[in-house]
């Protein structure tokens, strides 16, 4: 089995997978806890506009896409704060607009069209070494920021109004969270593609939420599950010559339904939940 890592592209893929797993485990936990999953989806799809723009302007992928996604994310966040009950509508509009812009930019670009499939479904097997360093730096920045504001994020995520009364700058925290989410999403698109990015953010966090009793535990379990799903997905892709991104999401999807099933069985039992058992069976 381990001979698949004799190939340098598989080692790169593994490193990228682990880094993205950690980024998505941490940010996915905060997205799920703050019900920002739809907003994350909006960022992911609007990012397509950034990919098109970067291609059209001949900018490198990361700065171009990240800039565009941050702009879209801040717009969505500002509207969500101002008119909360309209947030989903506005996010939906920006979601579609971003994708359409992306396609138009690609149409207008001269020369051979870019392989958009690799951005839709990911290109984990062709991640360049420089991107790995960018991901490592991002993972460290996210860990540092989330660590520094952990208690604020906890109070804010659990009860925003109370956090505000305690003098926590909830608006700034919200924008910081959305900004980190945009960074996480743009990096994850590289690995599993924008269609599937939501799965890595939500599924592990959703499973972890059931069996943990702190945000930190939830982040750790979500990271672990992400790494597990990525490993299974990569192995499947290698063995059966399938698209790696889709395989990773498929294994996450299987984990999702196993977790639902386990929860259902657990609820029928009279006693409380047994955390380690449930998780080890989750594999």
């Amino acid at each position: 089995m381990l001979e698949i890592f004799d190939f340098s592209f598989m080692r790169h893929a593994l490193a990228a997978g682990v880094l993205v797993s950690v980024i998505c485990g941490v940010m996915g936990t905060l997205a799920v806890a703050n019900r920002l999953v739809f907003l994350s989806g909006g960022i992911a799809h609007a990012a397509y506009g950034g990919i098109g723009l970067a291609f059209y302007m001949r900018w490198p992928y990361l700065p171009g896409t990240l800039g565009f996604s941050l702009l879209a994310a801040f717009t969505m966040a500002a509207v969500s704060l101002k008119a909360r009950y309209r947030a989903d509508t506005v996010i939906g509009a920006i979601w579609a607009l971003g994708m359409a812009l992306g396609i138009l930019f690609i149409d207008l670009s001269p020369g051979y069209p870019v392989d958009l499939m690799s951005y839709l479904f990911g290109s984990i097997l062709t991640v360049p070494g420089t991107d790995l360093w960018v991901m490592l730096a991002t993972a460290l920045v996210i860990a540092l920021v989330v660590g520094a504001y952990y208690n604020d994020f906890l109070a804010f995520s659990y009860d925003e109004e109370f956090a505000q009364v305690r003098g926590i700058p909830v608006r700034r925290l919200y924008f910081l969270l959305v900004c980190l989410l945009a960074v996480a999403v743009v990096l994850t698109i590289r690995v599993v593609g924008l269609i599937l990015v939501i799965a890595l953010l939500t599924i592990p966090a959703f499973i972890a939420e059931k069996f943990t009793r702190s945000l930190l535990q939830m982040m750790a379990v979500a990271c672990g599950l992400n790494i597990l799903f990525t490993l299974i997905g990569l192995t499947l892709a290698y063995l059966y010559n399938l698209t790696a991104g889709a395989c990773i999401i498929l294994s996450a999807g299987a984990g999702f339904f196993i977790a639902l099933l386990l929860e259902h069985i657990h609820k029928r039992k009279p006693s409380g939940t047994d955390v380690p058992m449930a998780l080890s069976q989750g594999k």
């Binding site: 806890a33 659990y158 109370f162 305690r166 003098g167 926590i168 945000l215």
Partner: protein, 259 residues
Amino acid sequence: MTSPLIQAKDLWFSYNHDNVLEAITFEIAPNDFVAMIGPNGGGKTTLLKLLLGLLVPTRGCVSILGQPPRQVSERIGYVPQHAAVNPHFPVSVLDVVLTGCLMPGIKWPRTTPIQRQRGLEALAYLGVADLADRRVGDLSGGQRQRVFIARALVGDPQILFLDEPTAGIDAEGQNELYCLLEELNSDGITIVMVSHDMLAISTHVKSVACVNRQLHYHPHPELTHEMMEMMYHHPPGQACPVELLAHGVPHRVLRRHRE
């Protein structure tokens, strides 16, 4: 006369061009125990949020201890009404309580043993120390209310604001809660409580503020017939079927139900 602890001067608040609150001016003295009562939609919760600095008044100003509310957040304890919280949120009871001693700014993510000790003491004071490690989503409504009060108390506040603290609690629990608040008040904590439960407050609080767009402050907890009429705008003859007589001793008379 001591200087007021909480002061509202000509406070107006409008939402969608409708005045929710008009020309509210009042002072709350240290160690008062105020119940804010009034009909639904009368603006009690809005007024509480203005006092807490969660909302910004359209006109006028609020000062607590001579400063804007946001400047004195560490002196304020707050117990929200049915906190709109995600019931599946993975957080232990003790960790929820400890968010009550949070201060703005970057800090080491772990809480100190002293803070945890104080958190446990606050839980013990409310008789729910045994719940400290439970997930907060697994608690009953009454247990969660106690946890939220512990969270408000752990920061050692001078003023405690509560929004409908008895909602969803049975009669026995309500009485216990009021006795607890009285005890806190006699320990020197000023209490401002939004409530619709007028029968109970007449026996426990020191003063009553009637909020229905305007505010009428009564320095004694006597519920008068005029007060009831102001609150509920019932034309004479169709008064609230539950009538109150409050001459010092709470004494309740129920009018016969009309056919």
